[in-house]
Amino acid sequence: MAGLELLSDQGYRIDGRKPDELRRIRCKLGVFTQADGSAYIEQGNTKVLAAIYGPREADQNMRNQICHDKCFLNCEYTQATFSTAERKHRSRGDRKGQDMSTHIKQTFEATIQTSLYPRSQIDIYLQVLQADGSNYCACINAASLALIDAGIAMKDYVCACSASLTKGKPVIDINHVEESSDCAELSVAILPKLGQIVYSELNGRLHANELPDVIDAVVRGCKDLFVVMDRTVREHLEETATTFTHS
């Protein structure tokens, strides 16, 4: 593709970032009153809302999923029709949404201490308001913060970050333009304190020898994200604690 250079000779990306630089992150906990836990995250122009309901008694029409020794997760991912440049009406349960819901569900099944909530259900609702690449990652980060807000026991934070490889250099937290180019895309979710990878997905072609570099970069990206998320949680808790002591 002429004219579209993902990485300039000076080493800057299309949006002016360095290869190992994340987009600006803004997040907030406890944005809703109705949900048991909620969070909002902005990673560059990708904006995601997460709401958690539960652990609660399993819904009537989900009776068949009840487990006697652990809770089950119900995850729903929706993308607003106005979130992308082109309007697309996605009906509920379309393939892309289902796919994303399943990935998110599996990620959290590996993280939430489900055995503490037998015979119950936890709902994770994700709403993408604006999409500009790395939707999965923003959803994981938002849901992770919302679960913390809901006070649900987890092994660790879950932080997700994406990466690609252009001109032999790994670039992290890719935006929509980089995502739609023909480069490989790797999404990884890690448990930063335990140093474990709970999810990884690679789309597109990448030489096996190059993978360690990309993983290395993406894990560093996740750890940077963790610092921001952890700070937000601590600030939120301090704020809540002061309102409690004053009232």
Binding site: V31, F32, T33, Q34, A35, N45, K47, L49, A51, Y53, R56, D59, N61, N74, E76, T78, A80, T81, F82, S83, T84, A85, R87, R92, D123, Y125, Q127, L129, Q130, A131, D132
Partner: protein, 269 residues
Amino acid sequence: MELLNLQPVESYKTFLKENIRPDGRELMETRQTVLNVGSISTADGSALVKLGETMVICGVKAELTIPSAEDPGKGIVVPNMEMSALCSSHFKPGPPSEQAQVITKFLDNLLKSCTVIDTADLCVMKDKLVWVLYCDLICLNYDGNALDASVLALIAALQNVKIPEVTVDDESGLPHTNMEVKKAFATRGMPCATTFTVFDGSHIIADPTLKEEDITEGNITVVTDEHDNLIYVQRQGGLAMPEAEMQKCVKRAVEHGSEMRKLYLAVAS
């Protein structure tokens, strides 16, 4: 507060005797309203409304389409309200809830009856090309009175719409979109909805919360415009109410409407 959850009706009565509501509002007082426009850059126009804790976001997307044969010179405005399981535990995952459909229909009627946007303005070339504005509303947090919030969000988002200039080539007849020049529509009128509900057959309260909606019956929605005309009055059954009470609602709706229009003008400037 405990009692409010266990015996809502009884504890409400004691509150209303003192002419006050549990959240500190007077009977005819509405909640604090926050309006934010243009926060979604992928949409052609957007608005976020916070009415107390109720939160509604509206994004408008403009598309070009061929007009219908009945109205060859008119564009189309399509509102759609979504109240998914995300916004409250009252809603279950699945097809659109009844309430969401009622609101969608209400907004559709409202747009048709008060011509906020003259659909003739949406015409690019008669019989060939018109704009269709998809107005998608999502309720993010539901704490009662989603209707007032969605009307505010819809109107504010429509005022915020900027669409690219389209010229049709005379020879080839093909449209050409100029993304550099974007213009806003002239919106006509600023309707504002105010909802009331009846508690115990005798007390009229404005802008009910979710808890209040649960224990009251029969909403009355009054929509006014900037000349204090009534545009729409909806009373969905419930307990019968005296005519004098109705007058009181209309009077309050006019007051509330002028307050809200200040808000529209403040964000537009």
